[in-house]
Symmetry: C2
Subunit: 320 residues, 2 copies
């Protein structure tokens, strides 16, 4: 009666990717549909259930599936709803888990992308065997999944772990999409790196950089990474600045939950030592003495193309 498979679903603004996953974290079969073409969530869920039924039929039978785990922007674990997600077309509160469960007849659990990443690292990745760690997702924004005593921290309302929105600069901080200023996300995300690049180009007119050959408004974090890899000093300085703010933030996070490790996940983590070295140096020099030289900084061990589906699938093992 021990069901051997789960299904992971990563709901993105553009695409929705699904996969059938076994206990070792192998994706046996996967597929995807377009998210954004569906103006009505019901049409979307019809297409999604059809895809689920197809890939289940090609691999196994429904009674072998323990559960479906969904990672979605603004996903709330307690309610199973997607609530006011700015990057999705469906507005307001969508009872996603209940609607999908009704259509496919498999129990569904849902959480946000960063929490799914944390469960994924704990189940299949860099946090195996750990009971206290934090996953920081560095993508378009900055998200986080916090694990304390082996359990994900959801808080009393299911919305805990918004570490992209702690305030790192209380004066003259950058305007954030959340409406406030100085949030970590405005500095340490991919878009934050691009903003830093534009600031550097403007404020240091005498510093040479190959970034000057790119129209400022189109610069991406990838451009800065490519320049840094060829030795461009300004590009390297931009990563040092980014890593410094991230390291300052991490020192505060450690004072909160004293994790065994902080794990970097997502696009910017690909910058490797360019970002990790300044994060490590700044975190250590900012830590309270009792925490120094104790906290591991790690990169995600989930294969990037599979990470979102794997993370979501790990939640499938926890459905009741």
């Amino acid at each position: 009666m021990d069901k051997p498979y789960v299904i992971g679903i990563d709901v993105g603004g553009t695409n929705t990717v699904i996969g059938i996953v076994d206990k070792r974290g192998q994706i046996l079969r996967s597929g995807s549909i377009k998210t954004a073409v569906h103006a009505e969530v019901n049409d979307y869920l019809d297409d999604l259930s059809k895809l689920i039924n197809e890939i289940v039929a090609e691999t196994t039978t429904k009674d072998q599936i323990k559960g479906i785990g969904v990672g979605a922007p603004n996903g709330n674990y307690f309610s199973g709803s997607i609530e006011f997600a700015p990057n999705l077309r469906w507005k307001g509160i969508i009872p996603f888990a209940r609607l999908l469960e009704e259509k496919v007849g498999i129990p569904v659990a849902l959480t946000n992308d960063a929490n799914a990443a944390a469960i994924g690292e704990m189940t299949y990745g860099a946090a195996r065997g750990m009971k206290d760690f934090i996953v920081i997702t560095l993508g378009t924004g900055v998200g986080s999944g916090i694990v304390v005593n082996g359990q994900l921290v959801y808080g009393h309302d299911g919305f805990a772990g918004e570490l992209g929105h702690v305030i790192m600069r209380r004066n003259n901080g950058r305007l954030c999409g959340c409406g406030r200023t100085g949030c970590l996300e405005t500095y340490a995300s991919a878009t934050g790196v691009a903003r830093t690049a534009r600031e550097y180009l403007e404020l240091r007119p005498d510093m040479p950089s190959q970034l000057r050959s790119i129209p400022a408004e189109t610069i991406t974090s990838k451009d800065v990474f490519d320049a840094a890899m060829t030795g461009d000093e300004m590009a390297k300085e931009i990563f040092r600045f980014t890593g410094k703010i991230l390291g300052e933030a991490f020192a505060d996070f450690v004072a909160f939950s004293s994790p065994e490790a902080i794990i970097l996940f997502g696009g910017l983590a690909k910058a490797g030592d360019l970002i990790m070295k300044p994060v490590q140096e700044t975190m250590e020099s900012n830590l309270l003495a009792i925490f120094k030289n104790k906290v591991k900084l790690l990169f995600s061990e989930l294969k990037e193309s599979d990470a979102a589906v794997l993370g979501a699938s790990a939640l499938g093992w926890e459905v009741k």
Copy 2:
């Protein structure tokens, strides 16, 4: 076989207070010894065990005591040790729980003062029935006990919850006893309030205040409180400044663990609305939208003179 009593021990730098407590949080009998007179921890523990034996004999028998809970500065729950406590005479790592348990023959659990306060609020006080909350202790320093999902957050090493040492001012921050600058504790503790008073007196020479009649170096937070209660504008402004920084910090704490409540405990909490109003206003205006109007700000419900012993005693119910 359900043992009806626990013993709570509050180890302070000057005095150690103990009490026998029942399941409703009534202190049946209490006593105290001087902490600081004992240069050797073994002499201290001899005196402490003698006192324990006396008050147990006056009330009940040892087999009716479920456990002893100890709240001590720098107490580590995992190791049962007091580690490098700056305000105690015994240096290094003291295996306090094991030593005491050997002397009295009752199981002993130990944690730091702020964690003991959090367990006390959950067991007998303002957090009864809550699974996610934070206790902030506002005394000579600022401490914290964080509860997530009904469990105290100890972190991987037992030292989680050092929220007095998150950085609130990254430029020109006040020097902290921990060796760093800008820590919350340097602003929001009793000593922080006194520092703020000295700054105001110096930086606003034209502003009248009854605080000017006190020699600046001897001003305490109690002086500022007394002045504010008589309507002194500068004193009220000092509490607004203190509450504002505390409110900014709380908004970040909420982004971490999304607690149902934040509970103020300790000396400064006695300032009541003088501190709570600016905390509430600043926290709400700094919260991420999804957290607004959700987080309760409460005062401790433990009677002040008993709070430390009650908090420690609550840990006695948890011993194995």
